[in-house]
Symmetry: C2
Subunit: 395 residues, 2 copies
């Protein structure tokens, strides 16, 4: 990995604390050398895991100053008797080990719901984690937060601001309970740009809207979703109002890459699907149509079977809860027009079936209207592998 891409002012560590059964690192620690400005978005699920509520409270109490994030995989610490005390003790232990108030620590967990998380495992791991901290262990941390992921998910970008270059690095995890409408899954983004929390929060919200909120694997929304952005300021370069758009563009590149990687590695997925909708009345309508296509099991199984069954795409669009005249709708699969003005187009089906065997699938839904609303959305196909993974995830 290109060390040059890593933002200044952060160190990372990971270890095996004994939370998951397989002997594979299951805790990651992300530390800012001095309190970083922070922004975060959390799950909209009414059932929130303990680390989510504790992190929300800490972020408020610290007025958006964060020294560290402790993340564990293998247990969601959700719907647990001791959840809050475990999450609080973890933050406290990290704070003591790092010499900062506990409220400057965020916690995040991912894994099974409803099983007590042994907090002692996390507390005991803390000295080793802190000792192992290093500026170049970013990838190790990204590896440790994986659950059913097949590959670690990281992304990097630089932005040239007036005051100089700043770096952004993000890590995230997949790959089930993934549904848009919120900051989905766990994502941690570090930058060495300087910005106060009040500047960061809207930047994060806008970037999440263009990335994590345009992503669906299975339509389920996790109880633990957290995306946090930490700005160390270590570059000495401030995000000024004049620079805002440039910084946002770089931030979006990182978040979009992470979201794409989640879809690519969706549970059981054999294909990555990009959905583009154009010509809707507005972007909100376009996103609704794209989401409805992305969430249709019938569309996702057809793609799995390389079946150019565009009728299911049209039907899913018709279910989006948005006004739609099928006579104005074209559908393209892999660039081939399969439906024109709501009717079957002439196309070479065997050739298109072969094209649909590729790992990357493109669905374009074009409305021949006056609207300029458009949206991009990412998902994956739905295979027997998804069922296999989820019928036996816990046992």
């Amino acid at each position: 990995m290109n060390r040059l891409n890593l933002p200044l002012g952060f160190r990372y560590a990971s270890t095996y604390a004994g939370i998951r059964k397989q002997r594979r690192d299951d805790v990651a620690l992300i530390v800012a050398d001095s309190p970083a400005s922070a922004a975060a978005m959390f799950t909209t699920n009414r059932v929130k895991a303990a680390p989510v509520t504790v992190s929300m409270a800490n972020l408020k109490a610290s007025r958006g100053k964060v020294r560290a994030i402790v993340v564990n995989a293998g247990n969601a610490n959700c719907a647990t008797r001791t959840g809050k005390s475990v999450a609080t003790a973890t933050c406290r232990a990290a704070g003591e080990a790092l010499g900062c108030p506990a409220i400057q620590v965020l916690g995040a967990s991912t894994g099974v719901i409803g099983v007590e998380l042994d907090g002692a495992l996390l507390v005991k791991a803390m000295p080793k984690l802190v000792k192992g901290l290093s500026a170049d262990r970013f990838d190790d941390a990204a590896q440790a937060i994986m659950t059913t992921d097949l590959a670690k998910k990281v992304a990097f970008a630089e932005a040239r601001l007036k005051g100089g270059r700043v770096r952004i690095a993000g890590m995230t995890k997949g790959s089930g309970m993934i549904q848009p409408r919120m900051a989905t899954t766990l994502g941690f983004v570090m930058t060495d740009a300087a910005a106060v929390p009040a500047v960061l929060q809207p930047l994060l919200r806008e970037a999440v809207e263009q990335s994590y909120n345009r992503l669906s694997v299975d339509g389920d929304t996790s109880t633990n979703d957290t995306v946090a952005l930490l700005a160390s300021g270590a570059s000495g370069v401030k995000v000024t109002p004049a620079d805002r758009a440039d910084f946002l563009a770089a931030l979006e590149r990182v978040l979009i890459s992470l979201a794409e990687q989640i879809a690519r590695d969706g549970e059981g997925a054999s294909k990555f699907i990009t959905i583009e909708v154009t010509g809707a009345a507005n972007d909100v309508d376009a996103t609704q149509i794209a989401r409805s296509i992305a969430n249709s099991p019938l569309v996702k199984t057809a793609i799995a079977g390389s079946d150019p069954n565009w009728g299911r795409i049209l039907s899913a669009a018709g279910n989006a809860g948005v006004k739609l005249d099928p006579a104005l709708c074209d559908v393209k699969l892999q660039g081939v027009t399969v439906c024109r003005r709501g009717l079957a187009a002439d196309f070479d089906e065997p050739a298109l079936t072969r094209k649909l065997d590729e790992k990357e699938c493109s669905i374009r839904f074009c409305i021949r209207g006056k609207g300029r609303g458009k949206a991009r959305f990412w998902t994956c196909d739905f295979t027997e592998g998804y069922i296999k993974i989820n019928a036996s995830y816990r046992t």
Copy 2:
């Protein structure tokens, strides 16, 4: 089948018209001896199949008088160039063969979307269908409307009204593109009670709300959904305001049975799942929570794997868009409390896993609140079979 259960005044027929590849009856004809009072509910999908728009228009033009319903399987006649003319020609052919105006005929189609339906096949089949009409061919008609269904779906009830007994008989089909919020799939219900269309329509709407609208297989809403209720009046017994509740109860029994049969025979389903929610603020909230649980692929795959993973149920409830305090929530699986006040309950997991191997699964979600809102909902588990069927349905 018990002939006594069949409502008076109807005849049925089916034949193979050559629409589907397998040589299996693919057209059904339902005929009322004289114009019946009719009510119907149609898909809310913005993309409506031609037979839906033609039937809506006919029902309006005839002021709710219907002599016949022509149903074909194997082709949805949706997103087709000739769709409207084919649907119109079919109604006209049936009208000519039966000696009634074409507007007294409803059409319905089910099958693949976007492939032209050869109307000549239907027109040509009409004389044979009419010739084959018989009061006891109800089951044949029910068989002919099946697509991926493994079993035909019929239900019967009697209601004792002031004027005497009336009979209700219904047939329906599954088993993909099934999602509530509407009159889902195709369903045809006949009664020999006497009632004007204005009385029938609200009865049908109420019964559908308690049955088809509490059903989900895959969360997709078909372009062709139609549920029609025909009242021949041949019993000579009128549904009076004093009888309304009794008639509604019998109608609901038929429709609930049909909805249950659809869930039982969901594509690839190995288990039938009943979800009951109690203690919600109101019935609407309870239904939303039940629907969210029923539509969660993670819940449905866990049930497929006999995994008492109640965390997914709690999480799905938290996603219903309804206010929910997890600390007030209990979850029972097969009658066993697995979650009490949002936390893991003590239960014998191996014993429950064995219970979950049964073909019938019960999920009870109880909110310990002051609310009296409750809902029942039906769905099925999500297996590799669903993927297999839908990755290769068209080819």
